[in-house]
């Protein structure tokens, strides 16, 4: 009886977050629009949408990691690394089939993720610290690989760059947006509809219980790291398509941080066990909107960093309050 009542409350609260995010996004958009009327234009909406796909894909990987009670801070490096590998392939042969390169980048990302996962599980170490280390290791590696040189625009095939261009699109929607939506749908299917997906939630929700239920906790963790890495690798290609070149030093720096922010804003609980694809995607859109608005209003860019930090803190604290209001502790 009372349980049923409680459940209703819980359900409403979780969906409230997504609705709330949508509301915030709309309000922010309108407010900026009122200050700067030119903001109300299809082009602007398009560029906001165009600014999110990279983040969305990385953030979904990060979300998966967080759901399983891990934090992956090397995703930015992994993204750059994969992009570099892809770029090198193109540099050697610009006509190389793009699909194959996408595949390669994704695999490379997955392998780097595998390395993280192995270290974390094999020695049962906190994932943050391990990835904090590998973050730099990977950067260094790609730097050596590239001998401090960047992959210039001229080596990137036009057809790849076209993926990020509105005029080259299905019903006016650029490919990378469609791709990112596709990835999001895929991720949500994997997480909600497949065995491994649900086990990821289980492991994050209560590792001991998972172990006693006969779930291979370490196996699940490693899969999570591979998955997060693969997402970032894939995102690396999208990055190349959008920005048009890759630099071993600047590409993807701070990406993991944005990803964590997006996931947490989207309602992914740092305590593990809960997190929704839709929420994370909305989180990414909110961040993208903020970025665009900031440059649009000519706000001093330095405010951005501070804002992201603030948002993360507010988000986690809110999360906590909601949880405790429900009288349910995220153990």
């Amino acid at each position: 009886m009372s349980e049923l009542v409680k459940q209703k409350k819980k359900i409403s609260i979780t969906s409230v977050r997504e609705l709330g995010l949508v509301a915030i996004i709309l309000i922010l958009y309108v407010v900026v629009g009122l200050i700067e009327p030119r903001f109300f234009s299809f082009r602007v909406v398009m560029s906001i949408m165009l600014s999110t796909p990279i983040l969305i894909i990385v953030a979904l990987g990060e979300m998966t990691a967080i759901i399983s009670r891990n934090v992956e801070v090397s995703l930015g490096s992994i993204m750059a690394f994969s992009a570099i590998i892809g770029g090198m392939i193109f540099k050697s042969n610009i006509d190389f089939p793009i699909v194959v390169v996408f595949l390669v980048a994704t695999v490379v990302g997955g392998l780097l993720g595998l390395l993280n996962g192995t270290i974390v599980t094999l020695f049962s170490l906190p994932s943050v610290i391990v990835t904090l280390g590998t973050m730099n290791v990977y950067r260094g590696l790609m730097f050596v690989l590239m001998d401090a040189k960047q992959i210039d625009n001229m080596y990137i095939p036009r057809n790849l760059i076209k993926l990020a261009q509105p005029q080259e699109s299905i019903i006016g929607i650029p490919y990378i947006i469609i791709i990112s939506i596709g990835v999001a749908v895929l991720v949500s299917i994997i997480l909600n509809q497949t065995k491994i997906g649900r086990e990821i939630y289980a492991v994050g929700s209560n590792p001991d219980a998972a172990r006693l239920r006969g779930i291979g906790v370490n196996k699940v963790k490693i899969i999570v790291f591979i998955f997060a890495g693969a997402c970032s690798g894939f995102a690396g290609m999208i990055y190349m398509a959008r920005v048009g070149y890759v630099n071993p030093v600047t590409t993807g720096v701070g990406m993991e941080f944005m990803a964590v922010a997006a996931a947490v804003i989207g309602g992914t609980s740092m305590a593990g066990g809960s997190g929704k694809t839709l929420g994370t995607v909305l989180g990414c859109i909110l961040l993208g909107l903020m970025m665009t608005s900031i440059s649009y209003l000519g706000i001093e860019g330095s405010a951005q960093k501070a804002m992201y930090g603030l948002i993360i803190i507010i988000a986690v604290v809110l999360e906590k309050i909601i949880k405790s209001k429900l009288g349910k502790e995220g153990r």
Binding site: E3, L4, K6, Q7, K10, I189, Q193, T194, K195, G197, R198, E199, Y201, A202, G204, S205, N206, D208, A209, A210, R211, L212, R213, G214, I215, G216, S269, G273, S274, K328, G330, R331
Partner: protein, 520 residues
């Protein structure tokens, strides 16, 4: 429709399975210095309920965890159908058709109830997509068998403890287990729910499943089980057909001879007026309107089943959990205790139940532990530590309790359970308390150590301290206490004076039925 067919199919399968067995030969398990299991033999036949009884720390749970592959036995072997098996993870036990229901339900709060039932063996369609419909149908069937109606869509975290327990049972059943371990499954169930559980257990027997059943409630054992295995301090002390043994005999075997053999109560003359008083103390959702008083030199017992709110009362008095109402008085003056440090200032001490988790720092030196709760005893100005004083005090007090130790600078986890408990005592004695709350003071320590603890309790009483003892072990309650408060589901059901303290009164009150001497 499909659900039914699937379910009946499952039944036939389990019926078809020709008789099988699980055996354990000479299992030993040591944790650090403590022998939890000493060469125990055990076996389960198909379609029987086999109970394991024994006092706390007798090794019941350890045995189960070995059989479930959760911990590795130090030696001995486990056989299924007389073939030895090696298990490194629970997942392998599952492969052998073994499922486990834990003492405290281990659940996934963030997940749906349906998933909680099937997690670990989720059903998939050919497309590798999780088959929610099929699982829901099976789950509905299961919950009906269990006589529950719970919305499967709801989050597990929103269920009451008892419901979570039932869900865990459902989970075990859904995994097509041949044998189910139940570790105190009724600890948090209402009599009503217990009946349902028993119906279910009998039904399972009829379908050829086996149950290994652990409980402190001997009457239940008598009612439900076919055979009983009795453990004491890690030793196998007997295995009987349930018909061949009486409850009293069980107790005798559990405690090793009749109680008065080894517990004696030193008479202490109590002064008339109460020294320590608790007035309608409540903590929202945990316990309510608890009042009692303790006189100097008195040993005041608090009895009740697991989850009756005994520990929580101690925690509330000690300032660890919030009091929603009521007050605590020492020698007539009201105490304002918001945190343990306030309690310590007011000469109250709490020796917690979970010794290793709450009592002592296992990985710190004995001296460190001994003096930690009483900094003022060993600090000079600028709170520098006076190492000499620390050493002297530690030696003095550890000797006082006859603690066996090599060196006061060795880590506590090098000590045996009993001596660890003594360190936990010493730590609190050093704070010179007037009121000592002892929560399950003899949990998981061997008989010798228990006697030591009883001796200490007697001495404390003689020194005129107020001793409040929370215990699940009737023996202690019955012999050591001057008065006993019995609790049931957060309520006081009786306060028994010396002469009324007997097994019947305590147990009836503990199960929520009024005694003739209600609230005396």
């Amino acid at each position: 429709m499909s659900g039914k067919s699937v379910d009946s199919k499952r039944k036939q399968d389990s019926l078809k399975t020709d008789s099988w067995s699980l055996k354990a030969k000479g299992l030993c398990k040591t944790f650090g210095k403590i022998d939890a299991l000493k060469s125990v033999d055990f076996d389960v036949k198909q379609g029987e309920v086999h109970a394991i009884i024994g006092e706390n720390g007798a090794g019941k749970s350890t045995l189960l965890r070995c059989l479930y592959g959760d911990i590795h036995p130090s030696s001995g072997k486990i056989l299924v159908n007389d073939k030895e098996i090696k298990m490194s993870k629970p997942i392998e036990a599952k492969g052998h058709g073994i499922a486990m229901i834990n003492q405290e339900p281990l659940v996934f709060n963030d997940l749906e109830i349906l998933e909680n039932i099937f997690m670990g063996h989720l059903k998939q369609k050919r497309s590798k997509i999780v088959d929610n419909k099929r699982m829901r149908d099976e789950a509905v069937k299961l919950l009906n068998d269990l006589g529950l109606d719970i919305e499967l869509k709801g989050k597990m975290g929103n269920l009451a403890l008892a419901e979570q327990q039932m869900i865990e049972i459902a989970a075990a059943l859904s995994s097509d287990a041949k044998i189910i371990f139940m570790d105190e499954p009724t600890a948090s169930l209402t009599p009503n729910e217990v009946d349902n559980l028993f119906k279910l257990i009998n039904q399972l027997k009829s379908t050829g499943k086996s149950i290994v059943y652990i409980s402190h409630r001997l009457d239940e054992i008598k009612e439900i089980s076919d055979r009983v295995t009795i453990l004491r301090d890690g030793n196998l002390v007997g295995q009987f057909k349930i018909a061949d043994i009486s409850v009293d005999e069980m107790i005798a075997y559990m405690i090793g001879g009749t109680m008065d053999k080894f517990i004696t109560k030193k008479k202490v003359k109590l002064d008339k007026k109460p020294y320590f008083e608790v007035k309608d103390l409540s903590s929202r959702g945990v316990f309510s309107d608890i009042s009692f008083d303790v006189r100097k030199g008195e040993v005041f017992g608090i009895a009740g089943l697991m989850g009756a709110g005994r520990t929580e009362i101690a925690q509330a008095i000690f300032g660890i959990i919030k009091k929603s109402k009521g007050k605590v008085l020492l020698n007539g003056k009201k105490l304002d205790i918001k945190s343990p440090s306030d309690a310590i200032k007011n000469k109250i001490a709490l020796v917690p139940e979970d010794r290793q988790g709450l009592g002592v720092f296992l990985k710190k030196e004995i001296a460190f532990n001994t003096t930690f709760a009483a900094p003022w005893e060993i600090t000079k100005k600028l709170n520098f530590i006076n190492k000499k004083k620390e050493r002297d005090l530690t030696i003095e007090y550890t000797n006082k309790l006859k603690t066996k130790l090599a060196d006061i600078y060795q880590n506590v986890n090098d000590l045996s359970g009993g001596n660890q408990q003594k360190v936990s005592f010493v730590k609190w004695l050093l704070t010179k308390p007037e009121v000592l709350i002892l929560d399950e003071p003899t949990r998981g320590i061997d008989v010798g150590a228990k006697q030591e603890v009883y001796r200490i309790i007697n001495e404390l009483a003689q020194e005129g301290k107020c001793v409040i003892m929370i215990s699940s072990e009737l023996v202690e309650i019955l012999t050591l206490c001057d008065r006993v408060m019995v609790m049931y589901e957060g309520k006081k059901t009786a306060i028994l004076e010396k002469d009324d303290i007997n097994e019947v009164n305590v147990l009836t009150a503990a199960h929520g039925f009024a005694t003739n001497k209600e609230g005396a």
